[in-house]
C-alpha cells in the first residue's frame, strides 16, 4: 500500500463467513476531514465492512488502514484513534449522562481534568448540559443518540464511525443529529464514516457516498456525481394541446432529451439529463410546431432514484442467519 495520508484506506478487503462472502475485495479511500457515506440495501455488506474497519471482525484477506494504523496488525492503536456510534442505543440506562461519558473517557485513559472539560463541552454541544445528571433511563431516543455521539467524541478520535445514527428517531431528533454532525464537520478535522439507509441524510451530510451491494462498492462519488452517472434520469411531464403524436416524433429528434414516451392522448413523459434547463427549449420547440403547452413539470432525480438504479428494485433475500437451536430466535447471529 502507498504511504497513508487517507483517514481510511482499504485494499482488497474481504470477509467470508464459511462459504458466504459478505465483503468482496473492497478497495477505497476516505480523505481526512471528509464525511463519507456508506449506502446499500440490507445484507449488502455495509455492517461487516464497518465492523472490520472498527476492529470488531478480523478480515479474511486484504488490508485496511484506519487513522494511520493497520486494522489487522494494530487493532488497539486503531481503537485508540476511532470513535464508534453503533446502531443500537448503547448508553447505560442506569447511569447519568455525565457518568456515561466520564466512564467511557476512562476506557481511553483520558486524564480526569481533561475528561471533565471535554465532557462539559460535549454535553453543551449536544444540548444535554442541563440533563447531564439525570439518569439516561429518563432520556428520549434522540437524547440518548446525542449523548452517544458526545460519548464517542470524549477521546477526540480522528475518525468517527456512525451506524444508522438517526434510525427510529423523530424528524426533530433527526435534524438535531444532522446539525450536530454538520457542526462537527465545520468545527473539527474529524473524519466521519456514516452508514445510513436515509438518502436525504446521506445527501445532506456526505461529501462522498459509496453504494455497496453484494459485498462490493458498485459506485463511489459525490452525491451530485452519483446523479450524473445516471443518464436521462430527470423526468419531464408534458401536457399539450395539439397533435401529441407528431410532437412526440419531433421531440425524439432533440439531442437534449433521452426518452420520449406517449402517456395517454395528450401527455408525454420525457427523460432529460438536466430537467430544469431543458424546459424553455421544450416549450419553444412545441410552440414552434403549432401546439400549445398546457402544463409542464420537472421531477428531478433523487439520490434514492440513483440508489435504485444501481441496486435494482428487487428485494434481497439475505443469507439465512443462524438461529440458536436451543434458545430459538431470541438473538439471531447477525453477519451482514
Amino acid at each position: 500500500m502507498e504511504p497513508v495520508s487517507a483517514a481510511i484506506q482499504t485494499r482488497d478487503l474481504t470477509k467470508q463467513f464459511g462459504g458466504f462472502t459478505a465483503v468482496d475485495s473492497v478497495s477505497f479511500e476516505v480523505r481526512r476531514g471528509e464525511v463519507f457515506g456508506l449506502l446499500g440495501p440490507n445484507g449488502a455488506g455495509k455492517t461487516t465492512l464497518v465492523r472490520m474497519l472498527t476492529t470488531l471482525l478480523p478480515p479474511t484477506s486484504g488490508k485496511a488502514i484506519v487513522a494511520g494504523q493497520d486494522v489487522g496488525r494494530h487493532p488497539t492503536r486503531v481503537r485508540e484513534r476511532i470513535g464508534v456510534i453503533p446502531q443500537a442505543l448503547t448508553s447505560d440506562l442506569d447511569l447519568t449522562g455525565w457518568e456515561n461519558i466520564d466512564i467511557y473517557g476512562e476506557f481511553y485513559d483520558v486524564p480526569r481534568r481533561q475528561r471533565h472539560q471535554r465532557a462539559r463541552r460535549l454535553l453543551e454541544m449536544v444540548g444535554l448540559r442541563e440533563r447531564a445528571n439525570d439518569l439516561v433511563a429518563t432520556y428520549s431516543g434522540g437524547m440518548r443518540r446525542r449523548l452517544e455521539i458526545a460519548r464517542g467524541l470524549i477521546h477526540s478520535p480522528e475518525v468517527l464511525f456512525l451506524d444508522e445514527p438517526t434510525i427510529g428517531l423523530d424528524p426533530q431528533s433527526r435534524r438535531a443529529v444532522w446539525d450536530l454532525l454538520e457542526t462537527l464537520r465545520k468545527e473539527s478535522e474529524i473524519t466521519i464514516s456514516l452508514t445510513t439507509h436515509y438518502m436525504d441524510e446521506a445527501e445532506q451530510l456526505c461529501d462522498r457516498i459509496a453504494i455497496v451491494d453484494h459485498g462490493k462498492i458498485i459506485a463511489l462519488d459525490t452525491p451530485s456525481g452519483l446523479k450524473r452517472m445516471v443518464e436521462g434520469a430527470d423526468r419531464v411531464d408534458l401536457e399539450i394541446e395539439g397533435d401529441t403524436k407528431a410532437i412526440a416524433e419531433m421531440l425524439k429528434q432533440e439531442p437534449y432529451l433521452r426518452e420520449v414516451e406517449l402517456d395517454g392522448a395528450s401527455r408525454l413523459t420525457l427523460g432529460a439529463d438536466d430537467g430544469p434547463h431543458v424546459v424553455p427549449k421544450i416549450i419553444d420547440r412545441v410552440e414552434s410546431a403549432g401546439a400549445k403547452v398546457a402544463s409542464i413539470s420537472v421531477h428531478r432525480l433523487s439520490l434514492e432514484d440513483v440508489f435504485i438504479r444501481f441496486t435494482g428494485r428487487s428485494l434481497r433475500d439475505e443469507p439465512a442467519k443462524k438461529v440458536s437451536f436451543l434458545v430459538g430466535a431470541g438473538m439471531p447471529q447477525s453477519r451482514s
Partner: protein, 371 residues
C-alpha cells in the same frame, strides 16, 4: 378463535425454544433426584467415635448395641479411639459428629446398681445430626436395660446416657445462616457478573466496549472486580442480618470476622469465575436464567447447608465433596458457631482457593473479546 390464535402462537414459540421445553421437563426430575436424595428422611452413616475405657460385660453390651446400629439401620459409622481427649478433639474439628465415652468403671457401677453414665459429646452446630445420634444412642442404652433384664441382673435402670454439647447452643434458624450466606453469594455472583455481561451482549451494548482500547483482561478483571465487591457485600450483609434476626454473635471476635470475610470473598470469586466459565459465552439471558436455577439447586442442596451430607447416597456424597458450596458452608459454620481458628478450616479454605484458581483459569479461556 381469537383465544385459539393466542394459544397457537404461544405453542409455536414454545416448540421453537427447546431449552424451555427441556428445562420444563428435565429440571423437575433433576431437582427431585438432588433434593430428594438430600433430604432422605432417616439419617444414615453419621460418623461417631467410641472410646470404650471399660471392657466389662455391660460396656461390651453397649458396644454391641452400637455395632448393631451400624450394621442394621446404618444410622452411625462407628470408629474407635483410645483417648477421650482425642475423640472430643476429632468431633470439634469436624471429623466426627459425636464421641461416645464409656468410662472405666461403667460395668462395675452397673453391677453395683449405682448410676452408670455413658458420655456423649456431639457437634451440636449440626443440630439435625446431633439430635439423631442422641436419639439412637439413648435407645441403645434403653435396650441394654430392657434386653438383658433377668432375675439375676442388677438394677439396670441406673444406666444413663449423658449428652454434652461441644459448642454453644445453635438453634435451627441460626444453623441456616451459613447456607443463606452462600446462597446470597451464588445469586450475587450470577446477577452481578455473567447475567449482566450476557444481557449487555444481548442488547448490543458490548459492542461499545469492544471498539475501545479495553483489553480482554481489562473487561474480565473489571467485571470480576465489581462482581466480587457486590457479592461479598451481599454475603457480609446477609451474615449480619442473619445474626441480628437470630440473636447470635460471631464466636472468635475480629480474627473470626476477618476469616469469614476472606471465605466470603474467595467463595464469591470462585463462583463468579465458575458462572463465567460455564455461561460467559451464552448469547441469550434465557440460557443464564435456566442454568442459574439448575446450578443453584445442584450446588446448594448437597452443600450440607440444611441436611448433613453424611446421609447422602454415595454418588451425591462424592459430588458434595467437590462442591465448593459444601466447603464454604462448612468453613463458615466452623468459624461462626464453633469459634474455630484458621487451622481448623485450612482444608476447606485450601479447597476454595484451588477451586477459585481453576475456575479463574477456565473463565479466562472461555472469555473472548468478540461480539
Amino acid at each position: 378463535m381469537k383465544t385459539l390464535a393466542i394459544m397457537r402462537r404461544d405453542l409455536l414459540k414454545l416448540r421453537r425454544n427447546p431449552l424451555t421445553l427441556i428445562s420444563t421437563i428435565l429440571m423437575p426430575i433433576i431437582y427431585l433426584v438432588i433434593i430428594g436424595n438430600s433430604f432422605q428422611g432417616q439419617l444414615k452413616h453419621l460418623p461417631v467415635v467410641l472410646v470404650a475405657q471399660d471392657h466389662g460385660e455391660y460396656a461390651r453390651r453397649m458396644v454391641e448395641q452400637m455395632l448393631a446400629l451400624q450394621a442394621g439401620p446404618k444410622t452411625i459409622n462407628l470408629s474407635f479411639m483410645a483417648d477421650p481427649g482425642d475423640a472430643i478433639a476429632a468431633v470439634r474439628d469436624g471429623r466426627f459428629k459425636g464421641a461416645v465415652v464409656i468410662p472405666p468403671n461403667f460395668s462395675h457401677n452397673v453391677a453395683e446398681g449405682r448410676l452408670a453414665e455413658i458420655g456423649l459429646f456431639t457437634d451440636n452446630v449440626d443440630s439435625v445430626s446431633a439430635s439423631a445420634i442422641e436419639g439412637v444412642l439413648a435407645d441403645a442404652a434403653q435396650s441394654i436395660r430392657i434386653s438383658f433384664v433377668t432375675a439375676r441382673e442388677p438394677k439396670l435402670n441406673q444406666i444413663v446416657l449423658r449428652p454434652s454439647w461441644l459448642f454453644q447452643y445453635v438453634d435451627y434458624d441460626r444453623s441456616l445462616i451459613p447456607g443463606v450466606i452462600v446462597m446470597a453469594i451464588f445469586m450475587g455472583s450470577l446477577m452481578s457478573g455473567v447475567f449482566n455481561w450476557v444481557m449487555d451482549k444481548f442488547m448490543g451494548m458490548t459492542e461499545c466496549y469492544l471498539v475501545t482500547p479495553l483489553s480482554r483482561w481489562n473487561i474480565a478483571a473489571g467485571i470480576l472486580g465489581s462482581g466480587v465487591t457486590i457479592t461479598s457485600i451481599a454475603g457480609i450483609v446477609v451474615l449480619f442480618l442473619g445474626l441480628l434476626i437470630t440473636g447470635g454473635r460471631i464466636q472468635g471476635g475480629v480474627p473470626a470476622l476477618v476469616t469469614l470475610i476472606a471465605i466470603i470473598v474467595i467463595t464469591s470469586t470462585g463462583l463468579l469465575a465458575m458462572t463465567f466459565a460455564i455461561l460467559g459465552r451464552a448469547s441469550h439471558p434465557r440460557l443464564v436464567g435456566t442454568f442459574a436455577g439448575f446450578l443453584n439447586v445442584i450446588l446448594f442442596f448437597p452443600s450440607g447447608a440444611i441436611y448433613p451430607i453424611e446421609s447422602f447416597p454415595p454418588w451425591l456424597k462424592a459430588f458434595a465433596r467437590y462442591n465448593p458450596e459444601t466447603h464454604s458452608v462448612s468453613a463458615i459454620k466452623s468459624i461462626l458457631f464453633k469459634g474455630a481458628d484458621l487451622n481448623a478450616v485450612t482444608g476447606d479454605i485450601t479447597f476454595l482457593i484451588i477451586f477459585m484458581a481453576v475456575t479463574l483459569a477456565l473463565a479466562s479461556i472461555s472469555f473472548k473479546r468478540t461480539l
